[in-house]
C-alpha cells in the first residue's frame, strides 16, 4: 500500500514538474518574442495615441484607425492621407502578423476627399495572445510602407 502511495506521489510530482515547465516555457516564449528583432520591438506606430506618418519616395503617408482604442474583432475605420506631388490610384491596406500567417485580410480604400482615403476593416484576434499587427499601405505604382502597432484584445 505504501509502495502504491509512493508511485502515485511520483506521478503527481511529474505532473507538477510538467506544469512548471509549461509555465516556464510560456515565460521563455514571451521573452523570445520580446527579444525577436522582427516582432514587438519593431513597433513604429503608436496608433492608440493618434495617426502615424511615414515617408515614401517623396510622399508622406499618414495612417489613422478609428475608433480608439484600436481593438481587435471590432469594425474599424482606416484612413490614409497622402501628401506630395505624385498622383496615385487609391491605396489599399493589407493586415498581417509577422511570423504568423493569418490569411489575406485587405482593406480597400475609397477617396473621400483630395488625398484622403477611407475603408472599413477588422483586425482578427490571435488566440496565442500576440497583438502586434502590421498594416502595409500600398500605393499602386509608388510603393509600400509598413505601420507596425499593437492592438487591444
Amino acid at each position: 500500500m505504501l509502495e502504491g502511495f509512493w508511485i502515485s506521489a511520483r506521478k503527481i510530482l511529474i505532473t507538477v514538474i510538467a506544469c512548471l515547465l509549461m509555465v516556464m516555457n510560456q515565460g521563455a516564449l514571451r521573452g523570445a518574442i520580446a527579444a525577436d528583432p522582427t516582432s514587438e520591438n519593431l513597433i513604429n506606430c503608436s496608433i492608440q495615441q493618434g495617426p502615424c506618418t511615414k515617408d515614401l519616395r517623396g510622399m508622406t503617408v499618414t495612417l489613422d484607425i478609428q475608433p480608439k482604442p484600436v481593438t481587435a474583432m471590432k469594425d474599424l475605420k482606416f484612413q490614409v492621407t497622402l501628401s506630395g506631388e505624385k498622383k496615385t490610384a487609391a491605396p489599399y491596406i493589407d493586415l498581417s502578423m509577422r511570423g504568423m500567417n493569418m490569411g489575406p485580410n485587405r482593406v480597400e480604400l475609397r477617396p473621400v476627399k483630395d488625398n484622403v482615403y477611407e475603408g472599413q476593416g477588422i483586425i482578427a484576434r490571435c488566440p496565442s495572445g500576440r497583438r502586434t499587427w502590421i498594416a502595409t499601405v500600398t500605393l499602386p505604382e509608388v510603393g509600400k510602407v509598413e505601420f507596425i502597432f499593437d492592438v487591444i484584445y
Binding site: 510538467a18 469594425d75 500567417n101 495572445g129
Partner: protein, 230 residues
Amino acid sequence: MSSTDPLYLVFLVTGFTVGFGHCVGMCGPIVVSLSLNLKGRNVLIPHLLYNAGRIITYAILGGLAGILGSFTILTSSILSLQKGVLIFAGVLVLLMGLAMGGWISFGRIFGDGDSSSSLFSKSFHRLSAARSPMVYLPLGLLLGLLPCGPVYTALIASARAGMGAQTALQGFLSGMGLMLAFGIGTIPALLVVGKLAGLGWIRSRRMIYKISSVLMVVIGIYFIIQGIQY
C-alpha cells in the same frame, strides 16, 4: 460566375499554407490526442470524419457571416461558445493524456459507466471506448468552433462576400463556399499530423506513449488557461 470566384482559390491555398503552420500548432495537439486514442487502429477514417465535422462547422459559420454581412455580429454571438469549446478541448486533451499515461482511469474520473453520469462524461466514455469512427464527426463539428486567427480572417472575407451579394441565399452560399475552400485547404496538414501521430511506424511505443501523455497533460492545461483568459 461571381466576383468571389478567385477568392475561393485564394482561400483554398491560404488554408493549405496556414494548415502547415498555424493549424498544426492549434489543432495539432487535438489531432495527436485523437490518433493516440486510436492506439494503433486505422487513423485515416476517424481523421477524415473529424476534419469533415470541422469543415461543416466552418461552412455553417461562413454561411451565417455571408447572410449577416457582418463578421462582428457573428463572432460576438459565438464568443462564449468559443471560449467554452477551447476549455472543453483543453479538458479533453488533459484527460486523454492522464488516462493514456495510466495516471488515472476513466472509471476513476467519471465512474464506471454510471447511468446517472453527465452528458460530458458519457460523451467522453463513448469517445475513449469508441470502436466506430463516427464519433469523430460530432467532435470535429464541435472543435470547428475553436477560436483561430486564420479562421477569423476567412470569416471576414465571407462577411464581405455576403455584403456584396444580391440576396440572402447568395450571401449564404458565397460565405459558405469561401469557408469550405479554406477548410478543405487545411485538411492535408492535419491528416499528415494525424498519420504521423498514429505511431504505426514506431516499433517501441511504450516510451512514446508515456512522453506523449505528459505533453498532452501540459497542452491540455495550456488550452484551459487560454480558454479562461480568452
